[in-house]
Symmetry: C2
Subunit: 164 residues, 2 copies
């Protein structure tokens, strides 16, 4: 008799295994996707973009924070349930310079979704043939480990996972 | 004596005027930006994209909902604090067909932010030289009035405002 389970069912079974006392064997990684942490928008003019959200749309915005190790200036726009992250290049090798050359007016760059266990998530996603943009997670804008998933494996969307 | 006020200050004064009893004069429109309702992602293969979020990333997803009047099929991905809206063309004149021709793998299409008074918002934004994609709001996927702002006036981002 063969038993076919979809991946959702397998995730539930993994959870049952891990929660069982004195569990033996090597169950696969169990992790949970969380909330949308932010939507990142690359902008050619950071002051103009900040003014749009602050003065025209009336949102609360953060100060400009330079993140030299990431090659960006950032401004966070507070939307109550989540944030927009305005990104502008910092330095010669900024990872968003190429994006802005292709998108002169700016554009949506990535979405960031929280996970409860980023290391389990990475092991699991690699096993599911979802490619990552680096071998290991790095420390993101909030001081927490992050990992970018390959846009080709995510419907053309650059997806950042962040440890919640 | 000339008095210079930035737009944020003007919005605060408008609020004070409107909240004052027996208010006279014609204060400008006052409206408030709310939460991020969703991030819309156009996808070339809706079943594959749904499976990514449901089976690989473990999110709750809705059934596929055809919206013929908008020229799209939609699937909503629940992220707790907000949603992703997967979009796939429905019909010959789908508004996202051109987007998918330029972005074969798919990509982020728009963000939707709630407002408490869409008509006031539109009057106000037009006065601030933010162009809209139609003269009047139309009824969106949730049965509420929506209006799209011109990407050229929003850092290359297609911004949808939705009546909360």
């Amino acid at each position: 008799m063969s038993v076919s389970l979809n991946y959702s069912a397998i995730r539930v079974l993994q959870g049952l295994w891990l929660s069982a006392p004195h569990c033996h064997g090597v169950p696969g990684p169990v992790w949970t996707l969380g909330r949308l942490n932010h939507v990142a928008i690359a902008v050619p003019d950071l002051e103009k973009a900040t003014a749009l959200y602050r003065d025209v749309l009336g949102a609360q915005v953060s100060d400009t924070v330079p993140l030299p190790e990431h090659g960006v200036y950032t401004v966070f726009v507070e939307l109550g349930n989540t944030k927009l992250e305005l990104l502008h290049p910092l330095g010669e090798k900024s990872p968003i310079a190429g994006f802005l050359q292709k998108n002169k007016s700016g554009g949506m760059h990535h979405i960031c979704i929280e996970v409860d266990d980023i290391n389990s998530a990475i092991v699991d996603l690699k096993a599911r043939n979802i490619r990552t943009l680096s071998a290991e997670p790095r420390i993101g804008a909030h001081g927490k480990p992050v990992m970018f998933l390959h846009p080709k494996d995510c419907d053309g969307v650059l997806v950042e996972l962040e440890q919640a």
